[in-house]
Symmetry: C2
């Protein structure tokens, strides 16, 4: 029997289209991870009656409701009032809640502003849910038929509260087996192809989910206790194709590359034409990249390829900027000049213009120069400009990752 959940995202700015709702997808994925089935997501604004109506409807329809937003101290934060009205109970001040809010302010060396006292109000009979990272505590209303969780809308406060207060309670209430989620992170593999390769993998106690964030696709194995998680992981990697899986429960592709380089005590430099700094940006997205990343030459104009990386004019004249010869010359020239252990070089036609019959839009050449020589790869990407560039970053990093798998 499927246990259904609804999500309510409260916030006039979401309803008005001033922002995108990222809470609901995250919560949906977490709840599916413990075995629940999604019912509906509703975005509602700041009108008390509208919030109340949505709470009533969701509590009547779903076994679990998670509502985020509207727990702040200002007059347009009405989720508390709406919940009390929906469940037909008054609001009452929670002494424990008030103490938590006061403690939060004390830890910041500030007195609690009087208006924040309203955040200690809960619908009568609700269970307080501590918010360790903010002033708005959450609460749980258990109607007997439905567990209704109310959480703040700020993602970095909300997420740890889902993990601390929601998942285990839901599992216990509905007798769901504890699960572990294994995340296989892949690049250069379309979600539809991943799904095809995983077809038939599900079995009792094993559910497969997907999350696409171009150009990465994550394949999630939700595995109940007692299953052979390691064996299932090996089987799934074999199905997906090992070269496509850059990490299991790992960080991003750039994190994996930075981690490998750090373990080896080696450095990297990038020589980028079409990607124009995007590989460098990706490598430095995580703090601490400075241990391994030294810099880049962005060589958009041909004369910069010559000036910064020493590509011979003759190579450009004979083979053109988008060619294996230029990619190799960029990588090797930049390596000689920068002194980095590894150089990743990219040159291609991202589009929409610049293509030719011999070098159509999407043609990209990569070279990786390292202590054991230079390798090359050519791809033909089918996307629009920005996606071609994002995919090129992934191909480049993955090529370097492959080289780093070999022993030093």
């Amino acid at each position: 029997m499927a246990v259904r959940f609804d999500i309510i995202s409260q916030g006039e700015e979401l309803l008005a289209g001033q922002g995108v709702d990222t809470n609901a997808p995250w919560i949906s994925s977490e709840l599916q991870g413990v075995g629940l089935v999604p019912g509906r997501v509703t975005v509602v604004g700041d009108a008390l009656a509208a919030i109340r109506e949505v709470i009533e409807e969701s509590a009547a329809r779903a076994a679990v409701v998670v509502c985020t937003g509207g727990l702040g101290p200002t007059s347009d934060d009405l989720t508390r009032d709406a919940a009390a009205a929906a469940f037909g109970v008054p609001l009452e001040e929670s002494a424990v809640g008030l103490a938590q809010i006061e403690a939060r302010y004390r830890s910041r060396n500030r007195p609690m502003p009087p208006k924040n006292r309203v955040q200690a109000l809960l619908p009568q009979g609700a269970t307080l849910l501590e918010n360790p990272l903010g002033t708005a505590p959450g609460f749980l209303v258990d109607t007997g038929c439905c567990l209704c969780f109310f959480l703040p809308g700020v993602p970095f406060e909300m997420k740890p509260m889902v993990q601390a207060h929601v998942l285990d309670r839901v599992r216990d209430r509905f007798g769901l087996a504890p699960r572990r989620t294994v995340i296989l992170r892949t690049v250069n593999l379309a979600e539809s192809v991943a799904a095809e390769r995983m077809d038939g993998f599900e079995r009792p106690g094993v559910v497969v989910g997907y999350r696409a964030s171009f150009p990465e696709v994550q394949v999630k194995l939700h595995v109940e206790a007692g299953q052979d998680t390691a064996g299932l992981t090996t089987e799934a990697v074999a199905r997906l194709g090992p070269p496509f899986v850059f990490g299991v429960d790992s960080g991003s592709l750039a994190d994996v590359v930075v981690g490998s380089l750090r373990a080896r005590g080696q450095t990297v430099f990038t020589a980028e034409s079409c990607t124009a700094g995007r590989i460098a940006a990706e490598l430095t997205a995580t703090a601490g990249a400075s241990d391994v990343f030294v810099g880049s030459a962005v060589v958009y104009a041909d004369r910069e390829k010559v000036r910064q990386c020493g590509v011979p004019e003759a190579v450009l004249a004979e083979h053109g900027a988008v060619s294996e010869a230029t990619a190799r010359a960029l990588a090797e020239g930049a390596r000689a000049r920068s002194g980095a252990d590894w150089v990743v070089a990219v040159t291609g036609v991202a589009g929409p213009g610049g293509g030719s019959p011999e070098k159509p839009v999407g043609t990209v050449h990569f070279a990786v120069a390292g202590p054991d020589g230079t390798t090359h790869r050519q791809v033909r990407l089918p996307y629009d400009r920005l996606r071609n560039l994002a995919a090129s970053v992934a191909v480049a990093l993955d090529l370097l990752r492959g080289r780093l798998l070999n022993p030093t």
Copy 2:
């Protein structure tokens, strides 16, 4: 009397959290632009009964409903069937719709696959809405109380259909005055500050909206016909502070900078330490940047600042990498070596580590070197690492934009 609209986003992948719903915010903003008031956004999956239920509820509650998704040719595309069931009518094949789908395939030199014929089915009495960019036509069901639009979920097909089929019909039906929307694009201005400065600007026939996409905030003036649009725009720019408004109905900040450079026939090079290629990436996000952008030196390691941009070792030793002197040396050194007309240089502490009492996290120095000399700016950004970097890109581009306002 407010005319309310609901939005329904249909798609199992949205409900399951495998993607973020960007259609609803866009549609919400467009409908508010013609004078409607948002009611509710609902995300629903692929179950026929669930889609039907949501359509019935929204059609009973709102005066306008826009539903996207589920109009494809496969067995999980059930919005057509759900709409017919919700309105209690059978599906009928539209001869015009079928001809449009066949014509779309002919234009691609392919025969229409038999399974696509189902896309010509509409609820009896519905009005066909042509989809010029895809095979799934949309349709409109007019219940007398509610205009219910059904459109494909692919954003680049859906958006022109909203503009062609939805906005004028809604305006006509509800006697809403035609409006023009002026978009003031700002950076380095928090949304709350923008809203404060625009407080009291609204008047009969003028509605103000906001859209934040960090670090940019757009202020939208929805102006009814007969109002002095130019005067209102001037007044709004004056309120916001002219330096913060980088464009009116313009492209992105990078587009504005690239456009100015192109108009002058000048070139730009970037010397980036902490931003590590992000300014270059932003400048090349639009095709055609190669007319003005020549390249970059990403100088993450101090020795790269010396090697690539000729920053004197003494400057680094005396002032440190994060300093006005280093920023100026980067800009001037890179300008001399690259021969570009303009160089933007950035060096700072993005965080979370690397701060010190004198140079706390968020300290960033910028220099712009050009034909008429070098200018410097220092900021202290309050965000996390990635937002500090995104804000630094905006400050850098905006500083260059300011320089380009002066006559050549």
